[in-house]
């Protein structure tokens, strides 16, 4: 400790310099007290009666008041009451200076709000000691108030944060399709926030995905993981990716976002649109149960993997189970909250008791199991989140078919579109089909036809480029190796292309309440003999493009010695 610090700590030993209000109707008394206090480094203000004291107090906010009792106009008791009222809850010590010595008077000093008293004549040592003591009390009081204010603020903040968090969770889970008729579920969190997560979504091919996840712990910390998990799940299911890829995506996301000691046991299931197959990935979950349509156990499925969020991406194992199921088979998936539920003696519910619900034909095992678990735990209170899912295997009635806006012939205007591609653009190898489809697909009434339009444009473009401009020979494609050679040649010829042009014209018109897209491609190639075109056989791995175009379009015409193709596609209303 250096010299400066010692000085500071010394001065902290004596009373901190304070602003002190001295109230006394005798000037000599005021002066005497003033000297004593100023000697100790305090600042002194004086008032000669109660009324002036209150006014001065409000004006200067002193740290401590020395108050005489008997004064004209307003006595010390009145003034103290007024000051304490003015202060509200804030603490500024008021010490009475009194010549009265009877117990009743002294008691009154304290009962009306005074903090202490000093008997006249004033002893300087006692005065200084009392001032120091009250200075400490005042400091403690201020600290307490400060901490109280902080606590109140923190509490409000936490409540506010919980409200926000709840909204976020509800938002994250809102897209879930748990009301699908193939699903029954029971969710019972142990705290406000659920560490279990159950989501459902449809796939673009009409199947139904479900995700059950059980985070380590419960309450808010466990629930935090639900946000990234649901985000990844809904993104992946919208794209229709496989169960094993979803598992991998979820693992990658959790591994990245969660602290090391936090992870999630999970079961990801997909029922295909026909309801005939369940693909199931399970990591760290209790055994799933597959029953027949009567509810009798067919198969127990053990988790084959580690929970999500532990393994790094390159270590991750994504092999799923594929269950071929029969109509109305039922799959039960649940979190460990069920087998580990405790009764009043602290004994676990256990797997054996759980399996009894599936040992004989029971039409309503779902409700019986839930009721049995609730009875078992009695009033002991739930210690972990409980989630149960029943998935019935039958065709999925997905609401996925979102009707594209229908075509309204009467209000659709004709338009025309042209794109010219020279060797410079073509040799870069990018197909214009995606861009063309997006642009044309945005025109009124075309959206619903985008996929077929994509197919038609792909095939037309491939033919014009590969046979017209690059002059590749389909005969190459007759063998598997030749097929590879064909596309290698394509890449090679395309890279070194230095002349050639391909023009795409698309025209939309309405005729007799029907819309038509006329698509025309002109290439700068040598053309071909239009009459020599043969249909391909079932086994030929080439020549199928034209067949596709012909079945999707109303008409297909070749002209200009085979350098022009024109197709018409009908847009019905």
């Amino acid at each position: 400790m250096n010299k400066v610090d010692e000085d500071i700590s010394d001065s902290q030993e004596s009373a901190k310099a304070m602003k002190i209000l001295v109230v006394d109707d005798t000037e000599a008394n005021r002066r005497l007290l003033g000297w004593m206090l100023e000697d100790e480094g305090h600042t002194v203000q004086e008032a000669e009666n109660g009324e002036l004291a209150v006014a001065l107090f409000k004006e200067t906010n002193p740290d401590l008041v020395l108050m005489d009792v008997m004064m004209p106009i307003m006595d010390g008791f009145e003034a103290t009451k007024a000051i304490k009222e003015y202060l509200g809850g804030k603490h500024v010590p008021i010490i009475f200076l009194t010549a009265l010595s009877d117990d009743a008077s002294l008691a009154k000093c304290l009962s009306i709000g005074g903090d202490d008293f000093l008997s006249k004549p004033i002893n300087e040592q006692v005065l200084q000691a009392k001032i120091k003591a009250h200075s400490r009390i005042k400091d403690l009081n201020e600290q307490l108030n400060e901490q109280n204010a902080k606590l109140t603020k923190m509490h409000q903040l936490t409540e506010h944060e919980h409200k926000i968090a709840k909204t976020v969770f509800e938002g994250a889970l809102a897209a879930s399709k748990l009301d699908d008729p193939n699903i029954r579920h029971y969710i019972s969190p142990a705290a406000t926030f659920n560490g279990d997560l159950l989501l459902a979504a449809y796939s673009p091919s009409g199947g139904l995905y479900t995700l059950m996840a059980d985070f380590t712990g419960h309450g808010l910390p466990a629930a935090i993981g639900a946000v990234p998990l649901s985000q990844v799940f809904f993104d992946a299911t919208e794209q229709g990716v496989s169960v094993s890829s979803i598992a991998r995506d979820l693992n990658r996301s959790l591994e990245k976002f969660l602290p090391d000691d936090m992870f999630a046991a999970a079961a990801i299931a997909e029922l295909n649109a026909e309801g005939t197959r369940v693909t199931l990935w399970m990591g760290g979950m209790p055994d799933a149960i597959l029953t027949d349509h009567k509810g009798r156990l067919k198969q127990k499925i053990q988790s084959a993997h580690m929970p999500l969020g532990i393994l790094e991406d390159h270590e991750f194992e994504r092999e799923p189970f594929i269950l071929e199921v029969e109509t109305n088979d039922r799959l039960y998936v649940y979190t460990d909250g069920i087998p580990e539920a405790l009764n009043c003696n602290g004994v676990m519910y256990g797997e054996e008791r759980l399996l009894q619900h599936f040992s004989s034909s029971k039409p309503n095992a779902f409700n019986e199991l839930i009721n049995d678990v609730i009875d078992y735990t009695g009033h002991k209170g739930q210690i972990d989140d409980i989630t149960l899912l029943e998935l019935t295997c039958r065709p999925v009635q997905s609401d996925q078919v979102n009707p594209a806006p229908t075509f309204d012939a009467a209000h659709t205007l004709p338009w025309q579109f042209r794109m010219t591609l020279t060797a410079k653009e073509l040799c870069q190898g990018h197909s214009p089909v995606g861009q063309l489809t997006d642009m044309v697909g945005n025109a009124p009434g075309i959206e619903a036809h985008k996929d077929y339009l994509h197919t038609i444009l792909t095939e037309l473009f491939a033919n014009a480029l590969e046979h017209g401009i690059l002059k590749l020979d389909s005969d190459l494609k007759r063998t598997e190796q030749g097929y590879l050679d064909y596309y290698q040649q394509r890449a090679h010829k395309l890279r070194s292309l230095n002349q050639g042009e391909l023009e795409i014209n698309i025209r939309f018109y309405v005729n007799d309440h029907t819309g038509y897209l006329m698509i025309q491609l002109d290439d700068s190639g040598p053309g071909f003999d239009i009459n020599s075109r043969n249909a391909s056989g079932d086994n030929d791995s080439f020549g199928r493009g034209i067949e596709l175009i012909e079945s999707l379009c109303d008409s297909v015409t070749y002209s200009q010695n085979g350098t022009r193709v024109e197709v018409t596609y009908r847009i019905d209303d």
Binding site: S203, S205, S242, S244, S245, N272, I322, E459, D540, S541
Partner: protein, 98 residues
Amino acid sequence: MPVESTLSSDGKALTIGISGRFDFEIVQEFRSAYAEHNNLDYIIDMRACEHMDSSALGMLLNMRKSLGDNARISLINCRPQIKKILTISRFDKKFIIE
């Protein structure tokens, strides 16, 4: 990865998942996905496949030729527009299409 192949836990079925566009751009990857695996159930999972063209049809026929007429090859989870392409090309004669 546009082509991902996964062996089932019992080692009897090979699932080849195709995502995005199924066309000549993935001709090599698609071929190597089944090339080293014999006598399995082959499942081509089309759930994440948005478009396929005639070159993909050719690739499927090459797969059929290479694995032989007795191999069980299924195309599953096809979107409607892809199912239509497969139907137009009468692929239901050579493949199991769900």
